[in-house]
Symmetry: C2
Subunit: 300 residues, 2 copies
DNA sequence: CCATATACCTGACCTTAGTCAGGTATATGC
DNA sequence: GCATATACCTGACTAAGGTCAGGTATATGG
């Protein structure tokens, strides 16, 4: 741990996040309790389902209900059944009344004004620099906010990742990608104890994935490592690979291997960088040009 | 107002300040109420006077007393008379007990760990970039956190600024600076209605100043514009000049003038940039080589 | 159709944060 | 030495944030 870097981050946390965060809250609140203001904001002009609000704001179900009743009492919000056709009759949905819309617009305006207080004292050149630096901080902090956790391959978020993976290889392989020509991977093989599917999420949105199959009497096999464009270049691929290797190692496997297409050059570079070495083909995957193996240290 | 820049700042506020700020609080709190944890932190290994804590944390006097009693009750802090020799007998000072010291060290360690969570997933190169971007954001946000307000020239913070100003010109003038050779400025001339002294503060620390004398039957005269190294290059000098000009204009003066030394090149560049034009000498200031004047629009 | 799960709700309750009106002891200007 | 200000304190009070144990209505798997 580099003490100087840590000190710099701490200074930033103190002066920027604490101070700006507190001011932002004040602007947002406008005399109203902050929790109410935030909720009003999250409901937004388009309305939102109660469950979604609960998840986004991380509130207790009872607490959220009470907040909604208060906003209803103030004539800012109406809560009614979510009117999806044939939808779940228990689900309810909150929408802004006309007064609520006006209030939301006011909040939006004040948020703009608050942001402007940072830009206003600067000249055009420094404004650009500030915004660029903010974007850089934001992007690099994203790396620490990505959560990697096991997930059933049947989960809609997992499916979304695999579809994105397929779309990407279709775009990059020389002759597209036809799943029928490729060795199939069954869900069952990616569910413990046969293997695992890891999902990487950023604020609960899927941004990457990876899977490993624990073959009987053979090295474990890594499949479907994919990282969303939004978070590429932040070391997520490396982290996913590491977690998959550790998963296999912890369960007694001492080597992992994988196949890949020659067009995925950054992936190949990554494999080499983290210690994979090229081996003879161990399967007949139609789209593979390279096969790699890495021995993984015992998990004990 | 540039909508794109504003949107970028708002995104930053949302993802960085809100999220990181909230996490930082959690780390800090460790099960203890946040206000207590913050107070414990602010007391620090060296102890602190109660008044200083009140100012730094912005707490109500009664509330702070109660927090101190709680920490005392938990055996973390002792509060006793501030033992300055011949000091004010009303002033009291808080210090950490041994347990309190241990707790403080733990908070410090956790703060380090929290900062490390941002750095850890990045490689060395990106760590440097993150820290550099954070420093840039911090520096540019400072501009919006500087508060300019009138202040009696006898205020200790005003005196500190004027001393810093004198030190700086002593360093930069060709033959040093001897106040006895320079036209004196009396405090009375910088107190309304004769004139005003403006103090620029950042978190209540003085970081700049400027004064204007409202001469009878003559243009107003700007004196002692100084900006601390810590905030130089953020447009504070320009802001101070603008406020001084407005002060004079609002009171019926339609021109301001000032004298300056040839070595203060950035100041001279600033004067020209904001509309001052060079005039014949209007006084016999020993250290002046240039005299400037600007007409200021009526305040009505 | 029954058992169980889920989505949302209500009521009871608690802690934390913070304000305000005095109170006591010391300092300060005249 | 008196009036007034100041530094810190106590007690009474309030609002906000939040938890928890049920309750009701709808969904779901067998």
């Amino acid at each position: 741990m580099d003490a100087e870097l840590i000190a710099a981050v701490r200074r930033f946390n103190r002066t920027v996040t604490q101070r700006v965060g507190a001011l932002d809250d004040e602007y947002m609140a406008r005399g109203r309790p902050l929790a109410q203001a935030r909720l009003l904001w999250e409901i937004g002009p388009g309305g939102a389902e109660v469950a979604a609000l609960r998840a986004r704001l991380g509130l207790d179900s009872g607490y959220l209900s009470r907040l909604l009743r208060t906003l209803e009492g103030d004539g800012l919000v109406t809560v009614g059944p979510a009117d999806q056709i044939g939808g779940d009759g228990r689900v309810r949905s909150a929408a802004l009344t006309e007064t609520g819309q006006a209030e939301w617009t006011e909040l939006d305006k004040r948020s703009d004004e608050f942001a402007w207080t940072f830009l206003e004292p600067l000249n055009a050149h420094r404004r650009q620099r500030l915004v660029a630096a903010m974007a850089e901080v934001e992007r690099l902090l994203v790396a620490s906010m990505v959560v990697i956790a096991p997930c059933p391959p049947s989960d809609p978020r997992a499916r979304a990742c695999v579809r994105a993976y397929a779309r990407e290889v279709a775009r990059r392989f020389d002759a597209g990608f036809d799943p029928a020509l490729s060795n199939p991977v069954h869900d069952d093989a990616l569910v413990p104890p046969a293997g695992v599917f890891l999902l990487a999420t950023l604020n609960d949105e899927p941004v990457g994935c990876g899977a490993v199959k624990l073959h009987r009497d053979a090295p474990a096999e890594i499949k479907r490592v994919w990282v969303s464009d939004a978070v590429r270049g932040l070391g997520l691929g490396r982290r996913l690979l590491g977690e998959l290797e550790r998963y296999a190692a912890d369960r007694g496997w001492n080597a992992v291997r994988l196949d890949t297409n020659r067009n995925l050059t950054e992936a190949i570079a990554l494999y080499r960088a983290v210690g994979y070495r090229e081996i003879e083909p161990y399967n007949t995957e139609h789209y593979a040009h390279h096969w790699f193996e890495k021995s993984v240290p015992d998990g004990t």
